[in-house]
């Protein structure tokens, strides 16, 4: 397992569950965890689900990606409540996560990954 993992936060459970299927193909050694939907699996986000996705990620340090603005706020709250080091990116959701996954798998250091994520910042 790589030292850096990825967490994915979406308003929709299916999206949160689906993205790891795209990423695992290029990043089999990257720990991927995700949080989608509200506590009742409605459309929305849940701080608790996000927190548990962060906690159960097997990596020491995690990169976080989200779909739209309201996910970010719950993600930030969760980040404040965990001891894990979480880096949050305002990039295109799927494309940012895909890029990060590819580069983590290839052993690229975080500062270089961030350089490659920079042009994907759209929020």
């Amino acid at each position: 397992m790589k030292k850096v993992g990825i967490i994915l936060v979406s308003h929709v459970p299916e999206i949160a569950n689906g993205i790891p299927k795209l990423l695992v193909q290029v990043a089999p050694d990257v720990s991927l965890s995700s949080a989608g939907g509200t506590d009742d699996n409605d459309i929305g986000t849940s701080m608790e689900k996000i927190l548990s996705a962060i906690e159960k990620n097997e990596a020491e340090e995690v990169l976080a990606f989200y779909d739209i603005g309201s996910s970010k706020m719950n993600l930030e709250l969760a980040i404040e409540m965990t001891d894990k080091q979480v880096h949050l990116y305002d990039t295109a959701f799927i494309e940012g996560a895909y890029t990060a996954a590819t580069l983590i798998q290839a052993g690229v250091p975080l500062d270089e990954i961030e350089k490659q994520l920079a042009p994907l910042k759209i929020k």
Partner: protein, 191 residues
Amino acid sequence: MLTAENTKKWMDSFYRKIEENKDYLSELDTPIGDGDHGNNMMRGMDGVKNSLAQLQDPDLKTVLKAIAMGLISKVGGASGPLYGTAFLEMAKKCSETQKVNELLSVALAGIKKRGGATEGDKTMVDVWSPVAQSNAITPKIIDDAIASTKDMQARKGRASYLGERSIGHLDPGAVSSGYLFTALLETEGTL
């Protein structure tokens, strides 16, 4: 002065207003959002009610924290972490002061930090800010603040995608915040 007791009463009153206006809040959220603000707030206030019901003789800090966690856990939309952060900040501050305007002032700062919005962005901030800054909260201050969001162009939240087309609609989070402060006004001993 907030106390554990009057804060719980405040929440009872806010609960009832949300319950009464749930559909209206969701309707407001339809043209400039995703139409769920009333349901979100109702779910959140049910969460708050349940959390508060479980507390035995709590102090003010415990009450404020339970409100925050109820909202954060249950709302599901942007207003959850925003209202939640507001009450979390009040909880942090309330050992130092129980004065409403001082507590609302840290709450406002929390909302602004959490959502990145400022006055004029057509969000709940446009109600929280004038209310937190007034020496004496009045119905007029609240109503004017709500009404002011109508002509604003949204710069944060879902409504911001609509650009100029967001003008002409009240912001749903501003309206629900209005209920919160009206409930506060109506709760004896808080001010």
